[in-house]
């Protein structure tokens, strides 16, 4: 369960050291007493995250709106509903569910969701991809942005890292889970298959892999560039339990798949969710194409995009 309801706008960086233990306690307490929010409440976050994404990418005229929008519901569901996690942020994440973003180019959605979950001030989103920012073009740790545990951007490395974190949890007798998101085009990288093979052999059954199955990569549809073919059959042949989720932009469907994944882990296999998403989801002119993988809207396009997504929690 998430840690929601923390006051926003607080400068967590300054407060961090003094209130860290208190905050963690509050957070855990909230997690316990808080009832599962309705997907309506989550939908409000989704709208705001979408606004943040297009505004961030517009603000620096670079970045990746397509994949970010496509994964908005997923990340909102994870951080605002499914995961046990601590916005006061401890890098080792002991006792918490962990999330890794292998397809680091969709950083905008992660940054926005982290900010709304209380990891860092929303105001920092305005510095996205700008000089001297902690909100780097691709997720990075060295500036100490809370919520990020490893850098990504060069594709294909995240599953391996997630496996290491999951195996560390086992050594630590920590029964929380590790989630990792990859792109579908990204699965063309061989390192993923090394990791997928290893995770099955070593029964890493505290790991949930989610594939952003949007069918698009930079140069075109995945099926045209270098098809993944029957991905479900591939993952099963590699010894994983596979969940198909054709409605990857539907909050309730996502939450259901994530719950099912958790149950399936009892079987000693790692689990993958093939999450059929729509690149650019929520901004009509960005949908049904790979064109918005990595370009920024102009002023007019921004206005159109914002008009389709009401401000719900306050723009940064």
């Amino acid at each position: 369960m998430p840690c929601k309801g923390l006051p926003r706008g607080i400068d967590f960086i300054a407060l961090r050291h003094r209130i860290r233990p208190v905050l963690a306690l509050i957070c855990m307490t909230i997690s316990i007493v808080n009832m599962a929010p309705t997907t309506e409440k989550l939908q409000a976050v989704v709208y705001q995250v979408r606004r943040d994404i297009v505004r961030m990418v517009h603000g620096c005229q670079s970045g990746h709106p397509g994949g970010s929008l496509g994964c908005t519901e997923l990340l909102v569901a994870l951080y605002h509903e499914v995961m046990t996690h601590n916005p006061a942020f401890e890098a080792d994440g002991i006792g918490e569910d962990l999330f890794f973003l292998s397809n680091g180019h969709i950083s905008p959605v992660w940054y926005s969701v982290l900010a709304h979950a209380g990891y860092f001030p929303k105001a920092e989103l305005a510095t996205f991809r700008k000089l001297n920012s902690r909100v780097q073009g691709h997720p990075a740790t060295h500036e100490g942005l809370p919520g990020i545990r490893v850098a990504s951007g060069s594709l294909g490395q995240g599953i391996s890292v997630a496996i290491g974190a999951a195996q560390a949890k086992k050594l630590n007798h920590d029964d929380k889970l590790v989630y990792v998101l990859t792109g579908d085009g990204e699965l063309q990288e061989g390192q993923n298959w090394e990791a997928i093979m290893y995770a099955a052999h070593n029964k890493v059954n505290n790991l949930v892999l989610i594939v952003d199955y949007n069918g698009q990569q930079i140069d075109g549809p995945v099926d045209k560039i270098n098809t993944l073919g029957n991905l479900k059959a591939k993952m099963e042949a590699f010894g994983w339990n596979v969940l198909d989720q054709p409605n990857g932009n539907d909050l309730a469907a996502i939450i259901e798949s994530l719950a099912e994944a958790k149950t399936l882990l009892a079987e000693t296999k790692p689990v993958v969710i093939l999450l059929k998403t729509e690149m650019g989801n929520g901004v009509d002119f960005m949908m049904n194409s790979h064109k918005w993988h990595g370009i920024a809207p102009d002023d007019e396009q921004l206005a159109t995009a914002l008009a389709q997504n009401p401000e719900t929690l306050g723009d940064y």
Binding site: C60, S62, G63, G104, R129, K130, L131, N132, S133, Q136, G137, H138, A140, H142, E143, A151, S152, G153, S154, L155, G156, G185, E186, Q188, E189, G190, Q217, I218, D219, I225, N226
Partner: protein
Amino acid sequence: MKKYTFTEKKDTRSGFGVAMAELGASNPKVVALCADLIGSLKLGDFQKQFPDRFFQIGIAEANMMGIAAGLTIGGYIPFTGTFANFSTGRVYDQIRQSIAYSGKNVKICASHAGLTLGEDGATHQILEDIGMMKMLPHMTVINPCDFNQTRAATLAIADYHGPVYLRFGRPVVPIFTERDQEFIVGKAWMVNEGTDVSIFATGHLVWEAILAGEILAEQGIDAEIINIHTIKPLDDEAVLRSVAKTRCVVSAEEHQIAGGLGDSIANLLARKAPAPQEYIGVNDSFGESGTPEQLMDKYKLNAAAIVEAAKRAIARK
């Protein structure tokens, strides 16, 4: 100081793209491979005009290097295209074994090198690629300075047998070399003769060196500026001749200080004729997001930094 002017700015990668389309027409043995970055590498024209000789590999750079090696066996001249990081560090062992050690005639063409990649940040801003590629036996390493020189270099390496690493970049920069220049692999280009300090620059830093030369000239300092477009094999003679005259050195590159052009020059001079040297390069740190200009300023890879370095070098004679 010799006058260099420009009327137009273009990205060096577009020089590559234009040359590839020309090569496609002129040399039926030239084939191109790309790892899901056709637009960034400016390979769209080649792809459209020569679809049979274009290989879309997908996001699998290691496989791309192996396939390129294999294509040489049937007599082809493969040009691989992806970002500089994924052209080198991602696939070093593949290049080493299947291309360099195997003596394969592959041209590894790398865009978005260095800090000027800009907003994507450190994971993409490779600053170690020259160092990696120059350590490889049998490898030629080229980093041209503008659109025209990149076009010329691309055309030249098609006729040069053996593995080549060709490095270029993303931002638009002044075009100040001649369109139909002769590009001789391994031959340094004398940009400006001078007597007080030797400035050896490569890639985007050549234009900054020219700007620095103008500022220095105003201050009465007569800088020799040499464009080292081929880092390996280094034009030893040109370097030694220049330093014999000026007795001090500035090296300037969009690369880590360790391992790049500067170290090739320091190595040569240490063996032949030691001289004080000042390095313009990134000092053992990763890059970050920002615009190309902001980053070149922050990390001191610009004319102002070269001017200061030249003065320090001269003071140490």
